[in-house]
């Protein structure tokens, strides 16, 4: 017989694995499908056993220049994240350490921009970028992503900075640290895990963003999400190719997330500094 503790461990282990497998299954299925022929791909369970083929990947390679889409995704995601962090750091610093009676309202107001459905501002934003000739440019995506993710970046940083005792910042002021030095030498080192996980989340959100990338880009600045979308259009759905291109699109970010997961977990469970 198992002791009570062993049973708890067993059950929570089963529950954890079940949940993890449920979450992982779509990615697994996508990956498996990407190695099937189109006929096998729509065959459902009948095609559980098949001879893996690389023909979908070859087809994608012939039709599109993967590297160019990848480069756009990397440049746009990381630039937008760095910009969002650069804007959010001093903003949140002042909100946390020099709050006014209205700081909470400002936070709410910042978040409220996220409550607006993006499609509601599609036309004005499209026209704005058109008038400055930035349609199908990385700059347009970077601007949209930077400000689109800013509310989330601000909110996450706010919770991390809140954990830093105000007296530590005051002590550094007494020691003669300028605002920039307080941020660079005290605040950033103390909240680095939090900043890193915020940045990582922002990169992932930018990477997977499809609405704006499909609407604002076509070829020159199109990121991987646009590439994926281009495979689900006029000629109908080609599940195997769609799976292959999706696998290619998420592979870099999954790899990136896997490498940084220790940092991410540490950041998201980041507690008191003391």
């Amino acid at each position: 017989m198992l002791s009570a503790r062993q049973r708890t461990t067993l059950y929570s282990g089963i529950a954890g694995w079940t949940l993890a497998l449920c979450l992982f299954f779509p990615i697994f299925w996508m990956l498996v499908t990407s190695f099937k022929t189109e006929a096998e791909a729509i065959g459902g369970m009948n095609s559980l056993f098949f001879v893996p083929t690389l023909e979908n990947y070859t087809a994608i390679n012939e039709r599109a220049n993967y590297a160019s889409y990848l480069l756009n995704s990397v440049v746009v995601s990381f630039t937008a994240t760095v910009l969002a962090l650069a804007i959010a750091l001093p903003t949140v610093y002042s909100m946390v350490f020099f709050p006014t009676g209205r700081t909470k309202d400002v936070l709410m107001w910042i978040l409220s921009t996220k409550m607006l459905p993006p499609v509601g501002v599609l036309v004005p934003i499209y026209l704005m970028f058109k008038s400055v000739h930035l349609i199908d440019s990385r700059a347009a995506l970077i601007v949209v992503y930077t400000f689109g993710n800013l509310p989330i970046v601000v909110w996450m940083l706010y919770s991390f900075f809140k954990d830093v005792p105000g007296e530590i910042i005051e002590a550094s002021r007494m020691d003669g640290a300028t605002t920039l030095q307080q941020i660079r030498l005290i605040l950033v080192p103390l909240t680095l895990p939090g900043i890193a996980s915020t940045g990582l989340l922002s990169v992932i959100l930018c990477w997977n963003e499809a609405f704006w990338s499909i609407n604002l880009t076509s070829t020159a600045a199109a990121p991987l999400t646009s590439l994926v979308a281009s495979f689900s259009s006029p000629e109908g759905l080609f599940w195997a190719k769609l799976s292959a291109v999706s696998s290619l699109a998420v592979a870099p970010i999954i790899l990136f997330g896997w490498i940084t997961q220790k940092q991410l977990v540490r950041g998201l469970t980041f507690g008191a500094v003391k």
Binding site: I168, E170, A171, L190
Partner: protein
């Protein structure tokens, strides 16, 4: 040398007045204790002198110079916080040398100064440690050391002993008095503990609801309290 003068100094948060026209002059090398019930404004007053809170009205002068709009680090003050406020990611040595580093003191000179102070506070063995590996009393000494290294004209203490256990508190009290004699500096000390006030102060400033009730030596206040509040507050010791 450091005389501090407050002239009709005021502070309000919105319509709520926390400091109502305070006049006070603190002499060079004096050990002055601000005492009063919580919420009386003693910490706020100290933070206004430090430059961490803006002064809404009146004048603060240090050695004859008006300091209302001078940033904290240029007032020649050092402060020891209630929570010690050590930088958790720096070693004891880096903590103590931080102000010097910011001031552009070269590394060798900085090290020399830090080691000298560390020796007087018996911190030499701990210089390589991080704050989390120190006991409460040791952290307290590092916080004091960090203040001393800057060689300030005035030391400000914001309830520095309230986080220590009773026996350590008594010992640190003695060490602070000794330190005051050694350093020959002006010290302003905030506490809500009447015993600390009575045993450490050259002069006590009793505050209540943002006003000074009475200023005087411990015995003056004890023997000749100006009103019931002062008598009650110190007498309940």
């Amino acid at each position: 040398m450091a005389n501090i003068t407050l002239k009709s100094v005021r502070k309000a948060y919105g319509i709520h007045e926390v400091i109502r026209s305070v006049d006070l002059s603190i002499n060079d090398r004096e050990f002055v204790v601000f005492v009063g019930p919580s919420g009386c404004g003693k910490s706020t007053l100290l933070r206004m002198i430090a430059g961490l809170e803006d002064i809404d009205g009146g004048d603060l002068t240090i050695d004859g110079e008006r300091c209302n709009d001078i940033p904290p680090d240029r007032r020649g003050l050092a402060m020891v916080f209630q929570s010690y406020a050590l930088y958790p990611h720096m070693t004891v040595e880096e903590n103590m040398g931080f102000a010097l580093k910011l001031a552009g003191v070269p590394e060798r000179k900085r090290k020399e100064q830090v080691h000298k102070v560390a020796e007087t506070l018996q911190l030499t063995q701990l210089l390589a440690r991080k704050p989390k590996d120190l006991s409460g009393g040791q952290r307290q000494r590092v916080a004091i050391g960090r203040a001393i290294v800057r060689n300030p004209k005035v030391f400000l203490f914001d309830e520095p002993l309230s986080n220590l256990d009773a026996s350590l508190r008594v010992r640190m009290r003695g060490e602070l008095i000794k330190l005051h004699r050694q350093l020959d500096a002006t010290m302003i000390y905030v506490t809500h503990d009447q015993v600390e006030a009575m045993t450490m102060a050259d002069r006590i400033v009793v505050l209540n609801q943002g006003r000074i009730e009475q200023v005087g030596t411990p015995l003056e206040l004890y023997r000749h309290p100006k009103n019931i509040f002062v008598a009650g507050f110190l007498g309940s010791t």
